[in-house]
Symmetry: C3
Subunit: 293 residues, 3 copies
């Protein structure tokens, strides 16, 4: 249902006048406790194209620096009657806890190492645009499976929709009980990507992470980075995905990121449409399913 509605909202984003009045008079608070370009901007654009009133606040200007608890911040925001709160936070489960404290709908825009649901939805939308059907697809996910919230949402989402997921990573980046996720584990990058319909790369966080999980970014690139030389193993119609921001020369080489297999910018574009769909469904229910101008 979300994907179908996002196909409709996508048409709004392709018009000259990218705006419908549907959510006029609804207040949406964007509560970002971690830095973000694409996710915050994507949500904000989605809100404005639906005519909602967006109010941003980021951790730096908040009362949190005055020692207020997050729960109190949440209750205070709630008292101002927002319709939706979009939250990114470093603590897993915090958006879930927030949702119990508020009348407003809460959208998780990424919580720690846990989940990033609208990312998985926009990935699914991008896959479906190219492959029509998710069921039966073979998908490889390469990178920090244990701590990536993108993997945390994509693995259950893709398996639920009937895709077969294979993961590949340094052992230090695989969860101890990886098989419980319902995925296969590939022994090498080459094995992971061969005969797959979709290859999804995850972002390597920072040099500091690198030091504790593998010797260096250069070494990560050598064994786990997708490079020009790997393209010969891909199916002709394989698509390469990455949630961004990409680290060129670490998990993906520039020639691959900018090459014909890549759908990375499609993912970004679909992000706005998915977020519009999620906002509409939360605020209008199914009756809003038909988007009119």
């Amino acid at each position: 249902m979300i994907l179908d509605l996002a196909e409709s909202t996508k048409t709004i984003n392709e018009r000259t006048v990218k705006k419908v009045p549907t959510l006029r008079g609804r207040t949406v608070v964007n509560l970002f406790f971690e830095p973000s370009t694409r996710t915050r901007v994507s949500f904000e654009i989605a809100q404005k194209r639906l005519s909602a009133d967006s109010v941003n606040f980021s951790v730096s200007d908040s009362s949190i620096s005055k020692g207020e608890t997050l729960v109190d911040t949440a209750k205070n925001l709630s008292a101002m009657n927002p319709s939706v709160v979009v939250i990114r936070h470093s603590v897993a489960g915090f958006p879930h806890r927030l949702a119990k404290l508020m009348d407003a709908s809460v959208i998780n825009a990424g919580d720690g190492f846990h989940e990033h649901p609208t990312q998985a939805l926009l990935d699914l939308m991008t896959i479906r645009e190219r492959k029509k059907e998710i069921k039966g697809l073979k998908v490889a996910i390469i990178g920090d499976i244990a701590r990536s919230r993108v993997a945390g949402s994509n693995i259950p989402c893709l398996t639920k929709m009937g895709a077969e997921v294979t993961v590949m990573a340094p052992k230090t980046m695989l969860p101890f009980d990886v098989t419980r996720l319902g995925v296969k584990v590939a022994p090498s990058l080459k094995d992971a990507i061969k005969d797959k319909d979709v290859v999804m790369l995850l972002r390597i966080q920072t040099e500091r992470d690198a030091a504790t999980r593998f010797p260096s970014l250069r070494e990560y690139n050598r064994y786990f980075g997708l490079k020009l030389e790997h393209l010969k193993y891909l199916k002709k119609d394989c698509i390469i995905m990455h949630p961004g921001p990409i680290n060129r020369g670490v998990e993906i080489d520039p020639e691959v990121a900018d090459g014909p297999f890549s759908v990375i910018l499609d993912q970004v574009a679909n992000g706005v449409s998915i977020r519009m769909a999620v906002l509409l469904l939360l605020l209008g229910g199914r009756s809003i399913y038909e988007v009119s101008d």
Copy 2:
């Protein structure tokens, strides 16, 4: 007049579509030189629900870091023809000075240790909702009377409206000439809160303040913090207020903040309505008194 109009604007905040077109095409600049959650967001939501155009800027991204004087910043903003400037600044009297330099209306959103007028108004609105009449009420204010801008606006506002105000604080937090404020001074917390219709707690600023005014936050809590054990001294229909952000376990214990006497979240909710009323009165005069959609 402001309180009556805020009762009307409150109905807008309780609708599904929380928006009226009244201030369409008016530019409001939010000029925050100190961090704030609730006040900035409350003003911004008020502006958007009245269809004004909000433009934020905070000190970090301003030319002040380039050495421009505040007066020049003000004159420059004024040249862009805003209708209203909402300002929070650490210098007492700065909004007053700004108002003389600008054609725009200036709203003081807190100036140093001086005043915070919309806070006093939202407090008054919250009291009136529960008590109908302000005249004759007995109000206790506990905390840093000398340096709290919340007290700085509430004491004159409440006494003007006919309430009887009693204050209580460590001696280091009382002004030297406290009786000139037209208030009584209670000798202990128990004496202060007994038989009061309203108990208003003030925020203890920081650990650093603590060190110069009293030995520790723990000691403040012991002698001046409102705790479960004090509730037996309260009148049955007493209301407990706090301007937020609250320091749980310092000036107020969690059981009290979240308990049945507390109207803290009502204060937050009323803040949006009061700010809408103030904006309407500044921009539309009395003719706007009737708010229609």
Copy 3:
């Protein structure tokens, strides 16, 4: 054409309801990689008065802190279909490069030591308001000619329009090949300002700049700062301009900045009108030339 249209948009800024629906549903991203008061706020007010949807992001909350390249940031923004991106960046030529990577129109809001085109346009508008005709005017520009982006845009703009430009600065602040700019060089401040129709002062950046280009800010003020004693050399109808933020007592003395020759605040006011005109022309083409409500 831009100046003519800006005269029309200026009438919008003088109404009570400062808003036209012309750019409804167009998304404008304000991408500021350097701090700014007047330019960012001026652009944002211009956008809102044209009913465009503004989305801000500044460097502090961007993925750049996560190591993303600027080109990738740009491509990602582009994928979200903005109509216009307004960019300020410390690297000369970056907006030009960005424009090649995006479908959106890109407006340079200042790039390093290079150009600041909307500043030159608002200066031109301010001059034309007072002098009717640019052709034949004598204009002095005083200050850091070599590294000022304001000079970088004003010199070609003014000479193209037929004005005669004279510059004056410490030798360390003149480009090596200054005569190639098509300007005269005056030997002293007095010579520079005598018989001029327009005297434009440039901002001295910081104390740190001072140390490498001249001994101290005080010494700069002594030889290059415009002071009360210089006013006797000015033509009766000369206008004094400054792009702001001004350093009182460095390049300009307070009595001069606030005196009758100064049109500094006119420049700020015209900035909003010029930016509205630029946005309209980029998004509507000539057909939008007539602005209606």
